[in-house]
């Protein structure tokens, strides 16, 4: 199931992005691109030729792989359709943040690598925004971690799911606004299982 989950996330992530873009465009009264546009973009980008600056070094060449693979490793840690993940008891919420930070670190370095003012500006901006966002994000993740008593993602999802099923047994869960979609998915999942048992 967890292998299946990893594949599902990878395959459907661009679709979610496309739907969000379409929805946004409709909200603003625009037509917007089709929901499959991100797939076409990805295929086009994968086919593009490489153009590399003479000034840049090997950092510029390894950065795409580090960013892409760190994002994929982060994907393997996040439970979406089941409460189990590929990383098992190594799927840690703090590790998740720091793996994404690894990608950001190299992206900022690649920005400085080509030796232009634009790259430097982007990299400076990226790190500044990270400074503002990271503590706030950590505190909100701590809330989930403390209430679950663990920083393991499966445990967090499990504990919040059981909390919800206890409290809102008869409520339609989709209507409850919640900042963390991850939890909603999981508690729906848990609820369905309990319903089928009954």
């Amino acid at each position: 199931m967890e292998y299946f989950q990893f594949l599902i996330i990878i395959i459907f992530a661009p679709l979610v992005n496309g739907i969000i873009k379409k929805f946004k465009a409709n909200m603003q009264g625009r037509q917007g691109p089709g929901i499959f546009q991100p797939y076409y973009d990805l295929i086009r980008l994968f086919k593009k030729e490489l153009v590399i600056s003479n000034i840049s070094s090997w950092i510029f060449r390894v950065t795409p792989y580090i960013v892409f693979s760190s994002t994929l490793v982060a994907t393997m840690m996040v439970p979406v359709i089941t409460d189990k993940v590929l990383f098992g008891n190594m799927a840690d919420i703090i590790a998740l943040i720091y793996i994404l930070a690894l990608g950001r670190f190299f992206m900022a370095l690649a920005g400085l690598d080509a030796g232009t003012a634009f790259g430097g500006e982007g990299s400076s901006r990226e790190m500044t925004v990270a400074i503002l966002v990271e503590p706030a994000m950590m505190l909100s993740l701590f809330t989930a971690a403390i209430s679950a008593g663990s920083t393991n993602l499966s445990n967090i999802v499990n504990s919040s799911a059981s909390l919800y099923t206890r409290k809102f047994k008869r409520l339609p869960l989709h209507t409850i606004p919640h900042p963390c979609p991850l939890r909603l998915y999981s508690c729906n999942n848990r609820r369905n299982r309990q319903d089928s048992r009954r």
Partner: protein, 403 residues
Amino acid sequence: MLGGGPEWWGITVLIVGAVSAVLGVIYALMENDLKKLLAYSSIENIGIILLGIGASMLFKAYGMNALASLALMAGLYHILNHTVFKGLLFLSAGSVLHAMHTKNMEKLGGLIKVMPYTSLFFLIGSVSICALPPFNGFVSEWLTYQSLLLGFNVPSITVKIISPLGGAVLALTGALAAACFVKAFGISFLGMPRSKHAEEAKEVSPSMILGMAMLAVLCLLLGIFPGTVSNIIAPASSMINGSYGLPSYEGLILIKETGSGLSPGFVLATMIIVSLAIMFFIYIVGGKKRARYGDSWDCGIPSLTPRMQYTATGFTKPIKLIFKGIYLPRREISVSYIVKPFFVKSIKYKSEITPFFEKYIYEPGVLFIHRLASKIRLLQSGSLHLYLGYILITLIVLLIFGV
């Protein structure tokens, strides 16, 4: 002191650690001198160590020996890691100084081409010190996070509030450190050389490279075998705080109270496998890639010069504006004219931050001691007669009070 004490001791150490961590890295960010930057970053790391030790003292005060042992282990692990990566960073900064005769980042740049080994080792040191997986700094910071989060189990409201805040401070410190070392590595080693020296620099001798290589390998090993390392440290922390068996299997550490686990080696292996898979995927989708090399985009101006690059000062300018309450930045612009106000002869621009601690704490202290010393110096006039007089007076005083 580590063996226990009232609650407020732990809280004090925790707060001192948090303040030290944030202020250390904030001043490191503004530094353009490579070695001074590393020195400020030591202040930050000692703050992180104190966070672990403070948490340990708190747990001890409430008799939670196992958790106290865990938190102390986090502190000790970070001490070990800091020794290794800070040693590595200072050695590579030393190599840069040796090759370039300057530590000023604004005069470096492009060193990755001429000093490939030194740059690689500085990069490994930077990734480790920013606590990014899979290197060693990550493991000890993760343990510190865990001990701070476990602080919520302490039956005291103050501790329940302070320890997760300590975690938030640690996150802030981590983000600031990442910005700091992106600047240190990116400005000094990447881009175009900013001076003649940087263009003509030579790689340092093999013996210097070997010294850095050993520490760099140690950075990786301490990162991917956290279990082994924590088993080595465990006796020391359990001696003070009673036993804590951190169940660990060479590459994986697991905290049994919470079920949180970590394995940087596994992350590294997965990332390598995933990268290979991506290369294969791109090969299938896009076919064989041939890279085209060209100059960086120069906005249509005939050629790009090193002066057009982002500078170290420019890189941290947004951060200086955000934290201006701490930095108290000052700037002076003086313009001299040939014919006012149309023909400008020269513009002088000076921008600096106020070194708060140096200006308002150390300098008054030093001044006071100097003044006192100059008063006391009157006693030592160099005249033998006066000294004989002192002896006589002392003798008389002793005789009077002695009787």
